[in-house]
């Protein structure tokens, strides 16, 4: 079972789905559009509250003109060890100033979630059983001392300009 998790806990009745051949958005649901479709839709309408799902090879800068119309950006991890999504998230938050929901979807595992949080993700579509259990127990495996500034703001750490400290294990 796939559930949506945010730092405030699991989210019920999340409306966003990735459409497939077998699955289309129902009445209470909204589709996450792929990048090309999103751009066409945005160009042809004045719709707001849109959602997009990025593939690892997508150039996030193409979203720049439409960011204010997006309610959610989902970044996909077809495999947990494909790390491109970390840079995509960092660019969305730090370069493009995107402030709405940023969701990791795909192969989202517990040991990567702390890294994802630091890159600016704030929402996670989780299927892995261990990850779901640890999240339910609120046991994230992250560490609070960091040697680099990232998209997620954190307090300055002791000593040098590049150090940061998070209040808890993220």
């Amino acid at each position: 079972m796939t559930r949506i998790w945010r730092e405030t806990g699991f989210v019920e009745n999340d409306p966003w789905i990735v459409e497939t051949d077998d699955l289309t958005a129902g009445e209470d649901q909204k589709a996450l559009l792929d990048l090309d479709t999103l751009i066409v839709r945005a160009e042809e309408s004045n719709d707001v509250g849109l959602g997009v799902v990025l593939k690892p090879a997508d150039d996030v800068s193409r979203l720049e003109p439409y960011l204010y119309r997006l309610e959610i950006v989902a970044v996909s991890f077809p495999a947990f060890n494909d790390g491109r999504g970390f840079s995509q998230a960092s660019l969305l938050r730090q370069r493009l100033g995107y402030a709405n929901e940023l969701r990791a979807v795909g192969d989202v595992l517990i040991d990567q979630i702390p890294l994802m949080l630091r890159c600016g993700f704030d929402s996670f579509s989780v299927t892995n059983a261990t990850a779901l259990k640890r999240l339910a127990d609120n046991r994230l495996p992250g560490i609070p001392h960091h040697y680099q500034p990232t998209a997620r703001s954190a307090e300055a750490g002791q000593g040098y300009s590049w150090r940061r400290v998070s209040p808890k294990s993220a």
Partner: protein
């Protein structure tokens, strides 16, 4: 050297606890091996042929006697009484149990050591010139910058799942002893016209199955931009490096396929956005880190000049050791001592717990408590008074650590090879031992002069055969081991990739082939000052092909 502050201690303790949890989940079966693999690799744990291997980080190869003693303790307590110093200035233990790993890491953390990012597809332990801070030809000490990079890259969330591993090396001297042109990023410290410190930035060097020499993409990067520019390189690589084929995933392939100019342009575009970000290095921070690496307070010891000459006259072995293993220090009363881990017929880079203790004792007593690991798999005492050389030599005698062969034909680099490694096609260590024994006589080595032999047991080139003056690559052909010989490689400021000389040799023929090559060189060199590499560059491969394979027509 750098000392941990509270922040560093807290970080490493948290990292040990984090890894302990991961190991427990693996042992309980909650974590599958494929998901555990990148996690253990991020912490230096490999699954090898016979057992797990733990690779411990020795940042830029610098350690003190307390840390060396801890390595001896780990060797004794959790392993089989020895460790293996690597070409990346690290130390590997080949036999620890997975269940012991958290305890090992805890013990290491008490002396400010860890295994973070010694493997995995992340930014690896940053390496530097093993003579840093002591060499006379240095513009500036590379270690403060290596330390800043080490900190910044530790558990970097954006760059923990790169297409492939990523190695950074820093040199502060014209004479490149860190092989920066065969690294993913090579930084060469220099000063501009105004006397300001900066870096020439090389990208896309590497060995492995596709050896490439790095391209210069920035002639002078100001010191303050070190982290922002490096971030720009990493981001371009993370987004665009190939992930479809692990053998084409290193940044060298991206540089090759994109073109160095275009890649440099992409990096500059990204850098322009990052330049004035919070990554800019404040001068005060650079100064504070640099202070950790200040030279020790070294008293004048002019008496060494006279006594050294006297001792050398009295003892031929000592004279030979000084000649070969001691290099001039920036302070003329001192020398930089290489402790060879290449005893004749021994295993390159291995040291027993007792040997580690001896080196620790000597470092504490005679060398301001400083030890280095060189990428040539030897240990270095960077600051030893000439007046103490005799005492140091006496302490080394009879321990297996007194071999006078630094830079000579028996100072061989070899990967662990088929004796340990799951990737290897052929053995490396027994071949190194055989060559070492064949050329072991002190007189013969001296006659041959500087000659770097490097042996890899497979195409991944951990033994750096591509940059050996003579390189040996073990391959598998029809189920048997075969060694391919390359000539003319070099990993210094004039980096070159060795050329394959012809068809490979059977294991029992390869040492003879080396001998043929050496004799050919001795016959054609202009005079003894023309080392093998220089002679090869002058005459090319043909005389060696003729000698190895008969007439040119027969050569493969």
């Amino acid at each position: 050297m750098y000392r941990y502050d509270e922040f560093d201690h807290a970080f490493v303790a948290e990292r040990v606890a984090q890894f302990r949890d991961q190991v427990e989940r693996r042992l309980s079966g909650e974590l599958a091996e494929d998901a555990f693999k990148p996690l253990r690799l991020m912490n230096g744990v490999y699954l090898q042929l016979h057992a797990y291997m733990l690779r411990i980080a020795i940042p830029y190869g610098t350690l003190n006697s307390k840390q060396m003693r801890m390595l001896a303790h780990v060797a004794r307590t959790y392993d089989r009484g020895y460790g293996h110093f690597t070409t990346r200035q690290n130390l590997q233990f080949n036999w620890p149990k997975l269940s012991d790993m958290p305890a090992v890491l805890h013990d290491l953390s008490t002396v400010e050591m860890h295994a973070i990012q010694t493997s995995g597809n992340c930014i690896r332990n940053v390496t530097a010139d093993h003579f840093a801070g002591a060499a006379a030809d240095e513009v500036a000490d590379p270690r403060p910058y290596a330390e800043i990079l080490r900190q910044w890259s530790s558990v970097h969330p954006e760059f923990s799942l790169l297409p492939r591993k990523f190695k950074i090396a820093v040199t502060g001297a014209e004479r490149d002893r860190a092989a920066i042109q065969v690294h993913d990023i090579g930084l060469h410290l220099k000063k501009n016209d105004k006397g300001e410190i900066g870096f020439a930035v090389y990208v896309g060097g590497g060995q492995g199955r596709t050896p490439m020499i790095a391209k210069l993409i920035r002639d002078f990067l100001p010191e303050e931009d070190l982290l922002s520019y490096t971030t720009a390189v990493m981001r371009v690589y993370n987004l665009h490096g190939r992930r479809d084929n692990k053998y084409k995933a290193r940044i060298k392939i991206l540089v090759h396929e994109t073109g160095a100019e275009e890649l440099a342009r992409q990096v500059e575009v990204e850098f322009a956005q990052l330049k004035d970000s919070e990554l800019k290095l404040p001068d005060a921070d650079v100064q504070a880190i640099t202070r950790y690496f200040a030279l020790p307070d070294m008293p004048e010891r002019p008496e060494g000049w006279e006594s050294l000459a006297r001792w050398k006259k009295a003892d031929e072995d000592f004279a030979r050791w000084v000649q070969q293993n001691v290099q001039p220090h920036k302070n003329p009363d001192y020398g930089m001592v290489t402790i060879s881990l290449k005893p004749i017929g021994g295993i390159p880079g291995d040291a027993t717990d007792a040997q580690m203790e001896i080196v620790a004792d000597i470092a504490e007593e005679f060398a301001f408590d400083e030890i280095r690991v060189s990428h040539e798999q030897n240990l270095i005492l960077p600051h030893v008074a000439l007046a103490d050389l005799e005492s140091v030599f006496r302490r080394l005698q009879g321990t297996g650590l007194e071999t006078a062969n630094a830079g000579l034909i028996t100072d061989i680099i070899a990967c662990p090879g088929l004796d340990y490694c799951a990737l290897a096609n052929a053995r490396s260590i027994p071949l190194a031992q055989e060559i070492s024994s064949r050329f072991g006589s002190a007189e013969r080595q001296a006659e041959i002069g500087e000659l770097k032999i490097k042996i890899s047991g497979c195409i991944n080139a951990c033994g750096h055969h591509h940059v050996g003056h003579i390189g040996l690559l073990g391959v598998e052909k029809k189920g048997a081991e075969l060694y391919q010989i390359t000539l003319g490689g070099s990993g210094d400021e004039h980096t070159s990739i060795g050329e394959i000389v012809g068809r490979g040799f059977d294991p029992d023929k390869v040492t003879d082939a080396i001998e043929t090559i050496v004799n050919t060189y001795l016959g054609l060199r202009l005079d003894p000052s023309e080392i093998f590499l220089a002679a090869y560059r002058r005459v090319g491969p043909q005389p060696f092909k003729d000698a190895l394979y008969g007439s040119a027509a027969e050569a493969a």
